[in-house]
Amino acid sequence: MRYLSVEAKTVLEKVEYVNIKKLKKSSLEKRESWIGFLFVSPMFIGVSVLTLLPIIATFFLAFADWNFIMGIQSVKWVGLDNFKVLFANEVFVKSVLNNLLFLLTVPFSMVISLIIAIVIDKHVYMKSYFKVAFFMPYISSIVAIAVVWQVLFNPTEGPINQFLFSLGVENSPKWIADPNFALISLMIIQIWASIGFNMIIYLAGLQSIPKELYEAANMDGATPLDKFKHIMLPTLSPTTFFLLITGIIATFKVFDLIAVLTKGGPINSTTMLVWHLYDSAFVNLKIGYASAIAVVLFFFVLLITLVQWVLQKKWVNY
């Protein structure tokens, strides 16, 4: 070191300094990593044990024949048998069809919600009262709602049929007790209960439309219908798309209404995927078969999510 020039010395010192800094930095990074793990580990462990592990198990169990009462040793691998039984079972087919019919609740609820949102956004006094009123079903438990509707729909004494009778309707439907009307009854309740959520999201969408657009349209002499067609609908398209997707996914998960009101009946007229899954697994103890339904459900929801990703960019136009 003694014979080195001053420049060389400073260079060497600099290298040493950088090395020390690197060492310090990497130990700092390690520390940061540990703390990071510490912060996220409760969540990660929880999700791993309660979601990741079970979803993998679902896929295994779908290829097995087993029931709760016997031990793990009694698991029998049966290949695709569960799926063969599944697709041949008319209750399953009926469940899928009912799920598809139930999709109709989504656009109905969205249209009604959009109209309500537009009206209460600009055209009424006491805006917050209306927000709360239409939002009430969302915060109420489905069980309480279902119990009330059960009585309202009562075929002989229920207020709805008494009202129809007083209007002169002689053969009013038996609603949830009638195989031809039970699903429609559930759909009516579903639409009623989902309006609040859709309306709140639409209201937020409406409030984010820039005022300048309306002012410009007014100057051009646009009619309210023009404004609706050329300003509201296009600027609301991301909201509409979002509500469509979340609405569709929600209909695939419908369970509480069926469990409280109809238990899939009468004669399987209101059975749906999740109800059929619950019935197979926890009433009939057919684990493999129920897991096959779970796999189908998983792929339905996955498919919708993928469609969402692909179409998101195309639909969002403004």
Partner: protein, 277 residues
């Protein structure tokens, strides 16, 4: 915008008000029936205001009679409050870790956690049930609380808010020698308090209203939550609609109180995150 009083707007308000009352009729009917004598429940035309009041007796019967609603109420309060506290803590910690601590594995872990959000809860019920039987968590409040404690949605929502905290705050605190736990607790958490409140209220509502998990993971009658008890009560008392409605009113009431207190947070939170229970 003019602030003048307008007749047109008033007319629309009145019409909308009538529609909103029609929309709320099931609730009005529920409330009015809970105060009626059983014999008057199905009188037609409907007595919206009971001619004979029996409210005190109905609620007394439901709460203090043979149905032990007070116990189910206590169970629901306990489960809901503890779930909300744990869920908010776990989600807030994870959200802070994923947004304000820079570590390479964090990104991978976050993507894994986010991916599980696509898994419909119902498609993992069977393995969860088997796991719970195996771990001895089945038929216990603790098990039920755990099921609601790890929310991907909550983590994602709070992470958005933590990301909006300027890193200058955190760097300044670091220079002053504060560690991440100090920063998390005394700087980051107070800054995102509105978001925490929103998520806590939503989690409270969802847990209180949950029916599917208690139905599957609880068996003993004394452990029942209010939703489960309601359903049992309905099948036991199919003929006593005034009592059933008194039970329904009792089940909804706490939520209405929570909602009235946190109305702004709930509506803003839902509009912001577009979150669905």
């Amino acid at each position: 915008m003019e602030k003048r009083f307008s007749i047109g707007k008033l007319v629309i308000t009145v019409i909308a008000f009538i529609i909103s009352i029609a929309f709320l009729l099931p609730f009005v009917w529920m409330l009015s029936t809970s105060f009626k004598m059983e014999a008057d429940v199905f009188k037609f035309p409907i007595e919206w205001i009971p001619s004979r009041w029996n409210g005190i007796e109905n609620f007394k019967e439901v709460w203090l009679g043979q149905y032990t609603f007070a116990l189910y109420y206590w169970n629901s309060i306990k489960i809901t409050v503890i779930t909300t506290i744990i869920s908010v803590t776990v989600s807030a910690m994870a959200a802070y870790g994923f947004s304000k601590i820079n570590f390479p594995a964090g990104k991978v872990l976050f993507i894994i956690i986010l991916a599980t959000y696509m898994v419909p809860q119902q498609s993992i019920l069977v393995p969860q049930f088997i796991l719970y039987r195996y771990l001895g968590l089945f038929d216990s409040h603790f098990g039920l609380i755990l099921l609601g404690s790890f929310s991907v949605l909550g983590t994602f929502m709070l992470r958005q808010f933590f990301m909006s905290i300027h890193s200058d705050y955190i760097d300044a605190a670091k220079i002053d020698g504060a560690g991440h736990f100090r920063i998390f607790w005394s700087i980051a958490m107070p800054l995102v308090r509105p978001a925490i409140a929103t998520y806590a209220i939503l989690r409270f509502i969802w847990t209180w209203n949950d029916f599917q998990n208690p139905l599957i993971f609880l068996r003993t009658d004394e452990l029942y939550t209010i939703q489960l008890a309601m359903q049992k009560f309905t099948s036991l008392n199919g003929e006593f609609y005034s009592l059933i409605m008194a039970a329904a009113v009792s089940a909804i009431l706490p939520l209405i109180i929570v909602f009235i207190i946190g109305q702004k947070q709930v509506i803003e939170g839902i509009a912001l995150g577009g979150v669905k229970g």
